[in-house]
Symmetry: D2
Amino acid sequence: MPTLIKNGRIITAEQDYSADIYIERETVTTIGKDLNVQADKTIDASGKYVIPGGIDVHTHMDLPFGGTASSDDFETGTIAAAHGGTTCIVDFAVQSKGTSMRHALDTWLRKSEGKAAVDFGLHMILTELPDDWLPEMDALVKHEGVTSFKMFTAYPGVFMVDDATIFKAMKRTADNGGLICMHAENGGVIDLLVKKMLAEGKTTPNVHALSRPATAEQEATHRVIALSEMAGVPVYVVHVSSHLAMEQIREARGRGLPTYGETCPQYLYLAYEDYADGSFEGAKYICSPPIRERENQEFLWKALKGDDLQAVSTDHCPFCMKEGYKGLPKQKELGKGDFSKIPNGLPGVENRLHLLYEGGVVKRGWSMNRFVQLVSTAPAKLMGLFPRKGTVAVGSDADIVIWDPKRPHTISANSHFMRVDYNPYESMTVSGSPALVLSRGKVVFDGDKFVGKSGDGQFLRRGQYNLV
Amino acid sequence: MPTLIKNGRIITAEQDYSADIYIERETVTTIGKDLNVQADKTIDASGKYVIPGGIDVHTHMDLPFGGTASSDDFETGTIAAAHGGTTCIVDFAVQSKGTSMRHALDTWLRKSEGKAAVDFGLHMILTELPDDWLPEMDALVKHEGVTSFKMFTAYPGVFMVDDATIFKAMKRTADNGGLICMHAENGGVIDLLVKKMLAEGKTTPNVHALSRPATAEQEATHRVIALSEMAGVPVYVVHVSSHLAMEQIREARGRGLPTYGETCPQYLYLAYEDYADGSFEGAKYICSPPIRERENQEFLWKALKGDDLQAVSTDHCPFCMKEGYKGLPKQKELGKGDFSKIPNGLPGVENRLHLLYEGGVVKRGWSMNRFVQLVSTAPAKLMGLFPRKGTVAVGSDADIVIWDPKRPHTISANSHFMRVDYNPYESMTVSGSPALVLSRGKVVFDGDKFVGKSGDGQFLRRGQYNLV
Amino acid sequence: MPTLIKNGRIITAEQDYSADIYIERETVTTIGKDLNVQADKTIDASGKYVIPGGIDVHTHMDLPFGGTASSDDFETGTIAAAHGGTTCIVDFAVQSKGTSMRHALDTWLRKSEGKAAVDFGLHMILTELPDDWLPEMDALVKHEGVTSFKMFTAYPGVFMVDDATIFKAMKRTADNGGLICMHAENGGVIDLLVKKMLAEGKTTPNVHALSRPATAEQEATHRVIALSEMAGVPVYVVHVSSHLAMEQIREARGRGLPTYGETCPQYLYLAYEDYADGSFEGAKYICSPPIRERENQEFLWKALKGDDLQAVSTDHCPFCMKEGYKGLPKQKELGKGDFSKIPNGLPGVENRLHLLYEGGVVKRGWSMNRFVQLVSTAPAKLMGLFPRKGTVAVGSDADIVIWDPKRPHTISANSHFMRVDYNPYESMTVSGSPALVLSRGKVVFDGDKFVGKSGDGQFLRRGQYNLV
Amino acid sequence: MPTLIKNGRIITAEQDYSADIYIERETVTTIGKDLNVQADKTIDASGKYVIPGGIDVHTHMDLPFGGTASSDDFETGTIAAAHGGTTCIVDFAVQSKGTSMRHALDTWLRKSEGKAAVDFGLHMILTELPDDWLPEMDALVKHEGVTSFKMFTAYPGVFMVDDATIFKAMKRTADNGGLICMHAENGGVIDLLVKKMLAEGKTTPNVHALSRPATAEQEATHRVIALSEMAGVPVYVVHVSSHLAMEQIREARGRGLPTYGETCPQYLYLAYEDYADGSFEGAKYICSPPIRERENQEFLWKALKGDDLQAVSTDHCPFCMKEGYKGLPKQKELGKGDFSKIPNGLPGVENRLHLLYEGGVVKRGWSMNRFVQLVSTAPAKLMGLFPRKGTVAVGSDADIVIWDPKRPHTISANSHFMRVDYNPYESMTVSGSPALVLSRGKVVFDGDKFVGKSGDGQFLRRGQYNLV
């Protein structure tokens, strides 16, 4: 059942040209002018951009956290993703204290079984690393397609590992060819500040941000880069939220280090000023690192344009504001009266392309190439998915979005597909949105509704990172 | 007479995949797996890279300089280019004191008439700018496809213009959408140092470098960036030779300025140490900025990889070492006994891809994508030639190089096609070289010899720069 | 007629202790606990600081500028200085086109003859430098005690010299041991902006600032530092007004260069916002570089504390707002309807210590040592006056200020001693002020009024700069 | 028994003048020209410098380390110090796991009782900090004159504390007015590298350096500065050994932070190249941070001149190369076959002024003022000893060195007074040395031998740091 996309303006990270695209089975097989081919389905893309499907390499579906779990699972989350033009996610398996990485991988594969509506990969989160577990890291990279490991310098007692452990993991990864992902905030500092502020009776959501200064993020960012430099391993700093942290990445890259960073829509659009008043509505904005003062935003946008940051992901990790939404338990409300108990996280997987297109292409004059690079190509290369994913080219998976620059979309919890009772960008109208979305050659969003199938999404065995 | 290139591994600045390419008339019309089409000519590219033709945006064919003229004209120079995989050059028309830009353009179009073997564009060099000439700048951009203007902060009395003139040209270019190119060295400083050194009896070729310190380049680079920032115009710094100057560009880009820089093979491969002995053989290496101490090289290679510099051109401007070669007059020898009279310039247009592939891909592990970006795609985007040139895509000119990574080539004046009696990289053997070169769909180099035709190269009316 | 100062708290740039000071003739001869000596005059300094007299190394008394002359001459200006605790100034002789430096020196010595109430030195301003004048530079340094030369990169057609001239002067000064002082703004850029703005009908005083962007200062600052680095000469950048320019000095110093910078009270206290409204009152604030946006101030204060800037001078160059004050002609009013005709300059010589003490010691918690360093010791060392001036020590001139930290002073044109009809700091009350001022052992300000004598000030033959 | 020092050239951090100094009891009471006073002892200082006694704020006398103890105790160490012109040290009391700071202080006061030949203070080293110990920190600052606390980011299991502990101590110190001193190297990284290298059979002394890369020092330096910034406390980074670490301090200071750093003679004079051969002689050079590649030296010298580092101390911590010297046990030899067991430390307290004078004043043209600032005045101000110590002024302790610039001294273990069997600077001849040394008014070194008395040195209750 071949498909033909006609007359679209094809945009990749580099290219910009008009041609027809012929898809057989799951991949693109021909691109040409006025293709004269047989197709079961013909899509007219006149006046629209044809871009590779979005890739969100930082999501947390069904993640146990703070006594509850993120409210989207692999089914609801990937269906929401598809609606927004994202046809691939990379989520995280979490190795818990005392259990193996293999066990974590199995657990997460079970969570996703029969559920994912688009393709997905998994990173492995490490919370400890005895010497005799090191071979398991190699096995994940070589045999399981789990080629990236994430660690935290924050959340003492939960996720935090010390520098010795980080360095050990980095040295091993330098040998086995994987990629290290880091959550960079100084947990020791934050822990003391949290205790101090609670002791002083400061309990409202905004205090979350005050207890996690940007300098604590900058410090840890500098540290993990230094550790990676000594270990000789590439490092990908997740969710860079502040100008200070971004500058560390920029500095390292200027010295030629394989240092990479992502930021997320929440750091580009939301600001501390939005919840500084201390009302509990601010719980909507609680995530870590926290959402910073507005002055950081323009530095992050500039860094995305200038390649000082390389990717935009969402850190999608939704929690409901009110108990009972679609039968879900108490979530954000767990932190009423104690900001430190508010589950950390925001929804976003559905709106990433909406927001980046609007903020980048429409508002700041980015080329469409840069937009595609940030939401699809660079993530694919970083996470070992390229050229299977991340571009429109002969031989690549036909994960394709027909992007209509003249199709406004109003973001709202009333209409979104994420399983969460609020949207941080409520009522924002963006200028462009997907007119059609294909996942491995099949239409999954027809411009109106999800027309794909849960379980059609495959687990992706990823290769080595390759972004040079 | 359609042409089919089969089984090649197609590399663009972003992509890497295997497919067939179908060329009709002058452009690529279809790319696909196992294309079943009619072709007059079929090229088997198995085991080889298929890349866009090289674009050298800094050449000086038939340039009057220092009492002589560069030894290659548009015919010999472009034929040499084609041999090395370069299918497009951008040369410079020079507005002389008292004559108009229009006149300069006509002069250079005449120089190239019936000669160029591959396509070419022209920048305009300004040596003065009375207020009433400003509309002519606009006309060049809008009607003639001459969309870039070059000025010099060096060569007082010849090319040098003062800051007021530079700033005036920049302000106008900010309005008309052109690009400013700058030769950045402090001519005032250099002039005094040259006089001082000659007065001290220091006359040998190496003193040329001593009289042009890297700090003089760094200063002027900082200055032209500052002027461009105040004028609100993009600036492209040509032939960056030193670590110090490169850092200025990197710093500006980090602040989000549209600042760009190129370097040249001579700054990547040759070093002051090569001619420090003072022998007249050193005249081979005399160009401006001078070839620097070896320690600069690795910083420049790193800057190319990390996108702190965006392009590699040659500043091809050859002069013979000995009088009489192919009937040419005395050239480098004009400076015997006085380094300041040695014509400034080196050959290179034929060897750029050889040298970058060897130094970047083979020696430093760059991806082929980065190689293509630096020698073709970025130059095309910067100089308003993309997507017509600079990529392999449906609709683009079929300027294509079949690059054979297993085809060693020994560089030598004995065999090169440039009209000059020496090669600065004499006897260097590189690992890969072009197996075949097409210019607008026609084979011009068949792997053995030039098979194109002088005069087939067209003058390109360029559009606006677009590298974001 | 020996003088004894008893019980003061002596503060130098380094020290802080209580002792008596014995002065014989013009110098300090003994410092000790409870000195048992004969004195004609005993001053009780209990509860007060005893500090070296202030040194203002940037004043323009009786300077011809823009068709008028600065309104203070050497008499009124130095009497005003004495009132404010400044016991030494270094003013500028101006070499005009076509006349020699010797002539300029003579002219300025005549201007000051019999007038100066405190000691003074002279810098030499160069406006041209033919090769055969170079020996005269040496003579000034060696025989006349004029050991510093100032040049301008701004004011084309008036003071501006090109880079070649600057570099020539620097090279010579590197040999003869003098110091180079630079006014750093890009005159070419400014000239075009001024013309453009006037042509657009923008004529109000505030446009002066818009036509002289901080980037034009930053550029020239970077340039003169680079030139000085290549010449191997120390450089002192006068009146640093912006964060951007200051960072250039800081960067150079970090590389170990002998680069120095001063700022002035107007850049620390006044802001563009104060005259952004465009009213003609803004003429009070017109000087070059212009007074910048307020955000610059704190960076300058911080730079003074951290030694990224080394001195505070005033660039005292007053012009009256209204014609007829004390018989003076039209001055600031020359620029009604054309900001470019407003004479550039502000009064300040009387209030420098008031303002620095208040802003530094009182408001920002500086040590008294740092205050003394900035207003006296560093200027003395930079300008070759140390240890004769700039400290309280045995053998030094008894230029001493009894500073009373509990003696408030309200700054006002109604009461100041400068010959100008306004004060930029009108009505500001500072916490401390001089209780008594001695110049070479004689009381010149008794806490109430000037009790010295015009003409008692001597021309100082200065030595080499020495601030390490 | 008053003492008179006649005709010396008095040099402080700021001043330079000739005068007589009169000392009564323990302090300077009068400074003047040709003092006509009664003295029991008159010292002729003609042709010599009179400078404040050296202050070494980083020594380890009688320190238990690595199964032995440093070979100098408070008696031998301070006598050696006096020989070299150092009249005050600040040593370290060590709080051990499970014992209180008070106990540590008592222990160290006992160690020094009746022994010290010159005055001394004590810092407190923290190895743990339960919340209920915090008031003890305040008490040390307020009541005991122990106003500085040192922590380590290295030596896991021995001295190392985690970031949470460091930050806790910093926050408390911000409140009580003390100073934080930090040993900055990343202990986690180093520990793994040490194990790895030993496992690979790399056991020679030079491997010590390879296991402690400069990046590990740079990282920790950046970290402790960031922690101090968040805590709002001044931080003093001890023994800065590398260009990389120094740049962190410089950067912080440029932002106006109260960040300070010292380096030591071993990092200025010795280099990794000196022991790279792996012979056991290299054990002489083993200290932490390790002695770096030679290229670091000039950056450190430059930083000292430019005030990017503020003080020079020794980290004096000697261990003998051979068992049995003066009855001492096996020390450096403990690490034969395992570099990690070599006691870390070098002798130096006797030679600091020799080495700084030679390297700074003689070789690099520093002013004598800068020399005095680095070896005496800045240490005094940083450690709360000024103006009692650190200057030559009326009211200050008469800790005075008559420095003879024409008195060469050959450094050698054969003649030095430190109790250790080698000198790292063996056979180096320096141009100047002390001709006489006074401690609180008494001659302790007469140019020939020690003439003071063990036990005469007093424990100094220090005040707050004050270096601005």
